[in-house]
């Protein structure tokens, strides 16, 4: 089966590359081993939150100039970042996911643990803050759904109080959400969202919120338990609640991330893209420095052939990279991986300390050609979290690297 480009990995970077290529009329296939780690995303994308030494970043495009040369942004070239960042925001608006945020200065998102973290773009309905330590409100009404455990409401309230607000917490006991308590194990954000689609269900929720809202409350914050497929339910709710209303992401699987994934995938398929969900690329066939085809578990003897291949399989969590007691490796094509051979150097004492393995990744040249046996492959690129050279957790740049490297590589493929 022939394609212009085959993308291995269907998360943020794979979808962004796929949409960008499919928009130019290219025949593109994405192969995804199950659902992606976007389901862990709380509705914000980040460009750069901190430098490698831990210094907080306010102005990500300016700060990017001081990044070390192994950082993916340095490989792209700092001068190209503003345009790529603008392209990324435009792409999200085009697919139907408009975001708030200014590329020149970070804003802050509110995590499910009640902590402010730097962000670049945040979905329209979610909390954004101008500063990490000050809230725009003095009096906050924080509501939760009775019995919903994926929203640690006391942590969130504590975080908001630390930022100087007076916080009132209310529990909503309202149908059809109350009925969900019958199944403790399945009372999750996505299932609640599936119950909150119809106008009548949303109206009942709105009334319940209005009932507990007091005159002093300036804003209502609630867990993101609606809007799994689109923003209709959230828009309806906001129109009916008497106070300004914002969502706070829940613990995963998170509704906003799932929606971002679904929205991108739908757009890709609408453009004619082929999305093979639940299949796994297992190996490739090479001729010299060119990959000529890849084999998947499900398609067996049907080889996926393409002019270009993009490796977007993510990091250890998504099995784009793997490790055992002997080595760190890339499981599909056995690409070169930048990681020390001595296992003692992979980790450091203290799980919350900066961990070396977070910066491991597939070795690439300056055009993101993946290396195999020390040589760059002509038609194989690596994008997103499979790349090393930075610590996405400590630096707050994982989703930015995913989008910008995907755009840079897709653009390069189109220009070729």
């Amino acid at each position: 089966m022939r394609f212009h480009t085959v993308i291995v990995g269907g998360g943020l970077s794979g979808l962004v590359a796929g949409v960008t290529l499919a928009r130019t009329g290219k025949r593109v296939a994405i192969v995804s081993s199950g659902q992606s780690s976007l389901h862990f995303n709380g509705g914000s994308l980040e460009l750069l939150g901190a430098l490698p030494d831990g210094t907080a970043v306010q102005r990500p495009l300016e700060a990017a100039a001081s990044l070390p040369e192994e950082h993916p942004y340095a490989k792209i070239g700092v001068s190209r970042l503003p345009q790529l960042a603008a392209d990324a925001a435009k792409l999200l608006a085009t697919v139907g996911m408009p975001m708030q945020g200014d590329v020149s200065v970070n804003h802050y998102r509110l995590t499910p643990m009640g902590v402010a973290k730097p962000a670049w773009l945040t979905m329209g309905d979610y909390v954004t803050l101008e500063r990490p330590d000050v809230l725009p409100w003095n009096n906050v009404l924080l509501v939760n759904v009775a019995g919903f455990m994926d929203f640690p409401v006391n942590f969130v309230a504590h975080g908001l109080r630390e930022m100087g607000a007076t916080v009132r917490v209310e529990e909503l006991d309202v149908e059809p959400l109350a009925a969900r308590r019958a199944s403790a194990t399945e009372m999750r954000a996505a299932n609640l969202a599936k119950s909150l689609v119809s106008g009548s269900a949303v109206s009942r929720l709105a009334s319940a919120i209005n009932e507990v809202a007091g005159d002093n409350d300036e804003v209502v914050l609630m867990p993101a338990v609606l809007g799994l497929d689109d923003d209709h339910a959230v828009t309806m709710l906001r129109a009916q609640v008497s106070k300004p209303l914002h969502m706070v992401a829940t613990l995963p699987p998170a509704v906003p991330g799932a929606r971002l994934h679904t929205t991108l995938r739908h757009y890709f398929q609408m453009l004619g893209g082929t999305y093979l969900m639940g299949d796994t690329v297992q190996r490739g066939t090479f001729e010299g420095n060119r990959l000529t085809g890849v084999h998947t578990a499900k398609l067996a003897d049907t080889v996926l052939q393409a002019d270009n291949y993009v490796m977007a399989g993510g990091s250890f969590l998504s099995r784009g990279l793997m490790a055992n007691y002997e080595r760190v490796y890339e499981p599909v094509l056995d690409l070169d991986v930048t990681a020390p051979t001595d296992r003692a150097q992979w980790t450091r004492y203290g799980v919350f300390n900066q961990q070396p393995y977070m910066s491991f990744g597939v070795s690439v040249d300056r055009q993101f050609h993946a290396l195999k046996g020390g040589e760059p492959l002509d038609n194989v690129y690596a994008v997103g979290s499979i790349l090393g050279g930075h610590d996405p957790v400590k630096m707050g740049d994982g989703t930015g690297v995913a989008m910008l490297t995907a755009l840079a590589v897709a653009q390069q493929i189109i220009d070729n």
Binding site: M1, S33, G34, Q35, S36, S37, H39, F40, A179, R180, R181, A182, S183, T185, E186, R188, A190, N191, K194, P252, P253, A258, H266, Q269, T274, L276, M277, G278, D279, T280, T296, A297, K298, L299, A300, D301, T302, L317, S318, R319, N324, Y325, E326
Partner: protein, 417 residues
């Protein structure tokens, strides 16, 4: 020692690979509409940890699992969540099947009897009083219409009208037709023969074909399922090794059951036949892709259709073959619907206690069909066909029947001489 273990240890059904990420719970069609089911993570890997300690932890609510396998499709870690649930049912389920479940599951027995008296059987099960008795006494939901039985079985038609001329072809395949084609809808089998003959392939029945057993597995009749599976594996093995004929099918569920459930759930060895067993759309697509056959389409064919990806088709990852094949038809405007469960899941939706859940699960798909408003819905699964026809009023066809309709069979035959 520990170091070597870590390099080689692989647990059954990838059970130990579960990261507890809970992504499967986002995609379970059952827990989305009912709280009676504990969800794939709890029913599967989480519950299994407890069941391994003490079988007492088995939860009868696991029978609400549709076996759609959408949890396995969603799992980023390759855990066979659905298989863990099916095996737990097989191991721990307290009671044997009810009379109703045995009737629903015994497709060969009931089908053979019903085709003998098809007009009477079809008339009788459509009568309101009969439906009322089936609903209240047997627990077969009154909203359901039984698929009509044919008066002549496919196998009978084939032996009388088609078998003799199959020898004149150079290349050959065996056809596992399944119960639906044999007892209810022989036309699909006739379409398959017409298409394969036009491509230059002779079509043959297996030495002995039994129901694939999907309904037996679903209804807890594992012993009979295993016996029928062994017969099918032997017949397919004979076809593949003795006759050098690969086996093709027109039902995604039969195919999935024989390729994957035989091994994963029933514990049977399918290694000799698995790679030679394929859905006809996949087989034909690969022939075209490899340049071995060519198609000629009718110039006057103009239709608007929507393709529905059945759950087991999604699990096999093969929808792409049917979709790409349909896209070759010049006059066909094809909408591909978002892949979601129709709710019937074989015999599940026929049971009175499951009717409401079944329709609630399917509501998303029904709305999508109405929005696309095609002349015909295309799908590779016969039970999805019943559910969509009953719930949307749209006609539903198998891709092979669409192909038979769209092809200029004579011109195609001339191209593949």
């Amino acid at each position: 020692m520990a170091e070597r273990t870590q390099l080689t240890s692989i647990s059954e059904d990838n059970f130990e690979q579960c990261l507890k990420c809970s992504i499967c719970t986002v995609y379970c069609p059952v827990s989305a509409v009912t709280t009676a089911y504990p969800g794939p993570k709890q029913a599967g890997p989480d519950g299994e940890r407890y069941r391994l300690k003490d079988p007492h932890y088995y939860d009868e609510a696991l029978k609400l699992c549709l076996n759609c396998k959408r949890c396995e499709v969603a799992c980023p870690s390759g855990v066979r969540v659905g298989d863990i649930i099916q095996k737990a049912r097989m191991k721990h389920q307290g009671h044997g099947p009810k009379l109703r479940d045995m009737m629903l599951a015994s497709t060969d027995l009931v089908g053979s009897m019903a085709t003998l008296v098809a007009p009477i059987a079809n008339f009788t099960v459509g009568l309101k009083p009969v439906k009322a008795v089936m609903h209240s006494v047997l627990g077969i939901d009154k909203h359901r219409t039984f698929p009509a039985y044919a008066s002549t079985k496919f196998e009978t038609w084939f032996r009388r009208h088609a078998q003799q001329e199959q020898g004149r072809f150079m290349r050959h395949v065996s056809y596992f037709h399944g119960c639906y084609v044999n007892y209810n809808y022989p036309q699909l089998g006739k379409d398959l023969v017409a298409v394969m003959n036009a491509l230059g392939y002779g079509v043959h029945l297996l030495d002995k074909e039994k129901c694939c057993g999907v309904a037996l597995i679903a209804n807890g009749m594992y012993g009979q399922a295993r016996r029928q599976a062994q017969t099918n594996i032997e017949s397919m093995s004979t076809s593949v090794t003795r006759d050098r004929r690969p086996v093709i099918t027109t039902s995604s569920t039969c195919t999935f059951t024989m390729r994957d459930e035989y091994e994963h759930v029933l514990g049977l060895d399918t290694a000799g036949v698995r790679d030679s067993l394929s859905l006809a759309t996949r087989y034909i697509f690969n022939l075209i892709d490899e340049g071995k056959v060519r198609l000629a389409f009718r110039s006057d064919y103009k239709r608007h259709m929507a393709y529905h990806t059945a759950c087991h088709m999604q699990r096999m990852g093969w929808a792409i073959y049917s979709i790409e094949l349909l896209r070759l038809i010049p006059g066909l405007q094809l909408d591909v619907l978002e892949s979601q469960c129709c709710g019937i899941a074989g015999t599940y939706g026929f049971k009175r206690e499951n009717y409401e859940t079944s329709q609630a699960i399917g509501s998303g798909l029904f709305a999508a069909v109405e929005q696309a408003d095609p002349e015909v819905v295309v799908t590779d699964c016969e039970t999805c066909k019943w559910q969509i026809e009953m719930s949307t009023g749209k006609r539903v066809m198998n891709p092979i029947s669409v192909l038979a309709e769209a092809l200029d069979l004579e011109a195609t035959a001339a191209l593949n001489k």
